[in-house]
Subunit: 150 residues, 2 copies
DNA sequence: TGATACCCTAGCGCGGAGGTAGGTTTTCCC
DNA sequence: GGGAAAACCTACCTCCGCGCTAGGGTATCA
């Protein structure tokens, strides 16, 4: 297993918000009920989405959450990163402040000492990020006949 | 973080075995010393590699491990799967006994109920597996001047 | 016969995942 | 103005798997 339920639940919330479409804010309680997810826990996740600039909130009665941008302009890379933190397939690989990837195993002085497995994890990371960037929120929103709109 | 150190260490062991090349079995203690990894822990990992048919062992004095096949014929998908178990980006997705992917969230009776996020995780999984299959052990083995062969 | 190495089972400490609890603040509607 | 509805914030709690360690047993060589 690689992504936690943070990513799973969070993506579901985003899909649900995209479905409701309008300018009317959607209360979290409604989403929690629809997807049968724990409300209190969703609050933590949606806080991350908000800090990531993916979602906006309206407080008070008749409040709730809305997408900050149209679904076509939201990539799943943004969503997953907001929820899980920066995407790395393995602990020793992280992104340097410049875009490049760093392997903590080759930090030592010897420049000749190249980590042989870095190639693998770099490739894996790239393929994950690529498909997350290619997949937009709008791709996940289908017509699914919403059973009952209470 | 997505793969544990099981994958990290295990891949390193495989690379080390590929480097030593020959028909001479390599004792695990040597690999542990070279890579500064805990021997007792490596024993657990290499057991998985053996059960996965990737490595063969010789017991007793002058024993050790060898690759079961030449490095060009070993994909990283096999290695990672042996170490980590079946590759799934998220808990609710698993592979059915037939190759297809199953989402535990849509098990219920209604056939109309399609999980909207399944598309995403299916894509992610596919891209990971693809690059793991494409990358072979031989790709990771470079000339790295081994400092001192004791 | 001893040293060397693989092999197996058990257990343990810690951190993070996956929540729960309870309060505070903002906003709408009557 | 006074609820009620919702977002928001902080603190906590439990459980499980990761990353080991420990201590044996067993095969094989010199």
């Amino acid at each position: 297993m690689m992504f936690s339920t943070k990513a799973e639940y969070g993506v579901r919330v985003m899909v649900e918000l995209a479905r409701q479409g309008g300018d009317e804010p959607v209360p979290l309680a409604e989403i929690a009920a629809n997807d049968e997810l724990p409300l209190a826990y969703l609050e933590h996740l949606v806080a991350r989405l908000r800090k990531g600039g993916l979602v906006e909130s309206r407080r008070g009665a008749r409040g709730g959450y809305l997408l900050a941008r149209p679904p076509e302009e939201i990539t799943m890379a943004e969503v997953v990163e907001a929820l899980e933190g920066s995407i790395a397939p393995i602990e020793c690989i992280s992104q340097a402040p410049g875009g490049g990837l760093v392997c903590s195993r080759e930090a030592e002085g010897d420049a000749a000492q190249v980590c042989p497995t870095k190639l693998l994890w770099t490739r894996v990371r790239a393929s994950i990020v690529d498909t997350l960037v290619e997949t937009r929120l709008s791709d996940l929103v289908q017509a699914k006949p919403r059973a009952a709109v209470a």
